[in-house]
Symmetry: C2
Amino acid sequence: MPISFRMRFLSRNLGGKYNERAGKVKLMRLTMYTDYSLRVLIYLGTKEEDKLTTIQEISDAYNISKNHLMKVTFELGKAGFIETVRGRGGGIRLADRPENINIGTVVRQMEEDFQLVECFSSEHNTCPISPICGLRGVLGKALHAYLSVLDEYNLKDLLFNKEGLRDLLRT
Amino acid sequence: MPISFRMRFLSRNLGGKYNERAGKVKLMRLTMYTDYSLRVLIYLGTKEEDKLTTIQEISDAYNISKNHLMKVTFELGKAGFIETVRGRGGGIRLADRPENINIGTVVRQMEEDFQLVECFSSEHNTCPISPICGLRGVLGKALHAYLSVLDEYNLKDLLFNKEGLRDLLRT
DNA sequence: TTTAAAGATGTATTTTAAATATATCTTTAA
DNA sequence: TTAAAGATATATTTAAAATACATCTTTAAA
């Protein structure tokens, strides 16, 4: 459920050499998609209330593909976290005050699913012991704990140094 | 950080149609690698103490590629969760009693890293606000909560219905 | 003392999701 | 009526994950 950042890490290669980290994998990542979603919200949170910001501006500030951000903002708008104004002079803004935008809610919304392991999906599961296996319950509980922490925070909590953020985001 | 099961889910396709779930992604997955690790431990846990089990047998029981399991068991051995005996008549067995094999420890060991988002990696980070951004802290806390739940369980907890597991795993 | 069964190791290939790019459409203020 | 903005769709690229294949090494049994 975490923002999956595959970036330019060394390839995992399960079949690779057996020295160093071979065989291990990178779990618990959030996608850049979710990361970008949060970055957009943070950016908008540093702006004056109601003021519109263009996607281009955010793209410049973070040096992120505008095309990618278009899709992120589209989803953020559909989910109701931001308002979008089309046409010349348009842009995007937070749909609510930062203290009312919950981080857990954002991550849940930008997520597709929380199928931690194969047996979380009745459709794709092939594990023969799933009917009586305790693993799903344990992982589900862990997932809940993860999201519960995120539920404790809202966007305002991430903006405690709003001036500093503005400085760093100035292009 | 969850066991990443990509399986045969619909492709995410960030650039796909904007109806249904397009744009959303699947986070918090564990890899099949970690899932398989836990399944191997569960299988061994259903066996009599000290009795050796071959990888082939586990491969048959779960219908998992033997080659893949070879790598999983190799890692499990290196990490000290199982003992491996080479040569004819060899096999693998738990290195300790199930109650002493902690699930959180297993997941941490089979993990490569816990870089939830780009800014968790000083090497790959490009986000300009990371020096003062509260996101990393929040996600780190959530990750800790996730692992802490796993830390509360050991392999024995997953074997409460050992007889049922044996039945389902009989090939 | 040779053979076969087991795990160990390395490399190569395939598949999938994620990331990104491109192109066009729609809206709307100037 | 034009240009700037977001909306939408499709296509491409990249990287990780999953898997397959090919030996090698160890060791007990024949």
